[in-house]
Amino acid sequence: MGIEGIGARVARKEDKRFITGGGRYVDDMVVPGMKHAAFVRSPHAHAQIKKIDVKKAQGMPGVVGVLTGKELKADGIGNLICGWMIHSKDGSPMKMGAWSPLAVDKVRYVGDAVVIVIADTKGQARDAAEAVEITYKELKAVVDATKALQPGAPQIHAEAENNLVFDWEIGDGKATDAAIKSAAHVTRMKIVNNRLVPNAMEPRAALGHYDKAEDHYTCWATSQNPHLARLVMSAFYNVAPENKLRVIAPDVGGGFGSKIYIYPEEIACLWASKKTGVPVKWVADRTESFLADAHGRDHVSMVEMAFDKDNRITGLKVDTIANLGAYMSLFSSCVPTYLYATLLSGQYDIPAIHANVRTVYTNTAPVDAYRGAGRPEATYLLERTMETAARELGVTPAELRRKNFITSFPHQTPVILSYDAGDYNASLDAAMKAADYAGFTKRKADAAKRGKLRGIGMSCYIEACGLAPSAAVGSLGAGVGLWESAEVRVNAVGTIEVLTGSHSHGQGHETTFAQLVNQRFGVPIDSVSIVHGDTDKVQMGMGTYGSRSGAVGMSAIVKALDKVEAKAKKIAAHLLEADEGDIVIENGEVKVAGTDKSLPWFQVALAAYTAHNLPAGMEPGLKETAFYDPSNFTFPAGCYICEVEIDPETGLTEIVQFVAADDFGNIINPMIVEGQVHGGIAQGVGQALLEGAHYDANGQLLTASYMDYTMPRADDLPSFKVSTSNTPCPGNPLGIKGCGEAGAIGSPPAVINAITDALGVVDIAMPASPSTVWSAIRAKRH
């Protein structure tokens, strides 16, 4: 390992601009003539639009345009779509209701965009938005997915009878029922996974600019995948032909899934720019983000886990209702299906699994992937059930898990996935050691002397990352392939640009990807630039989500580096009059192995571009492109242990220690990987203790600001003890599994297992706020 190569804790190259105020986010962009947009949003959860009167607003100071959904439709702008087809078990396709970027005749959730107002300043746009008069006829609303399925519930989309989007199943129902019937013990639970709001700190924003002279559109967007945004906006929304649309995602202030999707606002800003002839910028305020960003989770499940007399799991049956909100967001259908139910085997050898999933429309914000996306829901369900089972069976949580761990690989689960590598005992051992699990009994007794309730809980998670083999996801209904592209350009002076379809919005790609190049050619990372986030610069790419940038994005870079290396060696062999097979590239030098003959790296690059003396028939230049399509998912796994102390008088839970032992395969930059784990844990702890999106029965979002929605703050969390073990992933050239989501996946059940252990109760609702915990303590006393 060199000081800047694979495995080195290199400080991030991108930090300089962020710590000096030089980051460039969408809201920092200024285009000459630019105006500002505000959206008029529905105040009702469910209503018919009877009349929209924009006259008064049009006359307000500074206003340049007030545009409605009717005008947008008249210009042929398409409806938003969900890009992953799921079929119900009766063979019928999912029931996708129409989602117009600006509502035309009906609104379906509080925050549904209805009118866009464009004015000289943001303040004027907001003033004018207030003056738009919309007459609604209110309809009854439903926010709870279970209630929405009941007969007589308000009908949200004509296309989806009883609000049912699809009724899907996976696994072997008969075998699972038989296992439950013949079981020595069955653990049954109702598992609720609370609705969350992703809350990237940078609110979503869009700047649309139509250049009339060039007949060309540019959209600056807070996107995790600008190429996908361009593709979808041109292919489905008719905003502009793909060759006339450039999407730029500059510095993006966090995503966590919420910036994968193409939302109404960027479509409306681009369209409005053409309509009004001015560049149009919109930046969400935080309440708009709460109302109109895609939310996450919101599952209710019934679980039955069957055991034989030796405490081996013989079957798992799951029945889940997933709330999709008012419209089907871009990937909403795959989250509660292929990203969820395929993970229900967890780290365990389970012979029979069956899951049924019903997805449901409600009058709430659309629900889609949020950090982990389906895998946290599967892990929470499984690890809460395992914990309860251990208590019912009278064995320790570790013992029950060990007994059921998968120990040989590859392992084919009954729910599609084939795990390629792992060592679940190793991460459990590491976590228990780091947590001093053996010393817990004494710590609990000490806490009791201080009047505190102490509890410990664990969670053994697995996730499927490195999304994803294109043919496999295609066969499961995906509308896109999930490969990644890379281009490596060696300049004539030997410096290198890597163009990638991955997008960094905090993950540190500018450093990690450069380390890969340093490892290969010995070029200092300062001489390597990573270019991303601009469809005019990077040919095509699928973006960053599903912990895919390492396993898929960097694998594409490796493929392109292979090609560059091969060509560089050919050139060097020619110049040094040596055999190509004897050429090695080390520490910035191109050498003939076993001799003192060598050339500096830059001289080989220069030779490629002067082209005065190249091997016969070789094209000049040193630039290569590659597409990498993974052969399998990757399977990061690990064990998290949480220890809590609860004040029975206030119900306040303090996390006294949190241990994470992860297996991410090979690691490029341990410092960055640890940072990903820290952040993921904070979000998982947030879900377990603090966060929850709540709608009232009329569909008003009660938690629409940081005054109401509890974000984890520094004093809610401890410092974390994190470590990694390594079973390299055999499926990609770097042996990488991915690390972006693990923290958010593994931590909620560890926290809740600890709290229920401390309180001696079977279950407690997330978020386990002080009042929830206090009530549970009081209920138990009475």
Partner: protein
């Protein structure tokens, strides 16, 4: 409309702004100092923290006209001509940032915190005093580490200076 005149990062600036213009918008939109960010509407997130007359202030809680006559330091001026302020350097060294959006506010808060605690800082104090700044990426772990390290480095630095003076 109101006249606003300020000293920002050591330079005298003046302009005219709507009465309702917040200090943060004046800095960002009138002066082009976009390092100060807006992350919420309720003065909860702290992405907009700047120093007003030497104290950390959420620049979304103050009207531009209220700040008239004040001396403001933003993230762009914190290093005051040096390459990096010690707090900026510590955030980089300890990976105290990921997406960078909350970072300017965190650094301005941290600098003020360190200045108010010449006796030094411990983890509990840092965590308690970061209550007004939200980060969604780092889980605060490395932010806390960076602030503690910066506090120590700055204490050593000032002791060194005191020794030199003696």
């Amino acid at each position: 409309m109101s006249d606003v005149s300020l000293t920002v990062n050591g330079k005298r600036v003046s302009g005219t702004a709507e009465d309702r213009t917040l200090l943060v918008h004046f800095l960002r939109e009138h002066l082009g100092l976009t390092g100060t960010h807006v992350g919420c509407d309720t003065s909860q997130c702290g992405a907009c923290v700047v120093h007003v007359d030497g104290r950390a202030v959420k620049s979304c809680t103050m009207l531009a006209v209220q700040a008239s006559g004040s001396s403001i330091v933003t993230i762009e001026g914190l290093a005051n001509g040096a390459d990096l302020h010690p707090v900026q350097a510590a955030f980089k060294e300890h990976h105290g940032l990921q997406c960078g959006f909350c970072t300017p506010g965190m650094i301005m808060t941290a600098t003020d915190m360190i200045a108010r605690h010449p006796e030094g800082l411990d983890e509990a104090t840092v965590r308690a005093e970061l209550d007004g700044n939200i980060c969604r990426c780092t889980g605060y772990h490395n932010i806390v580490k960076a602030i503690l390290a910066a506090s120590q480095a700055m204490a050593k630095g000032s002791k060194g200076k005191a020794k030199q003076a003696a």
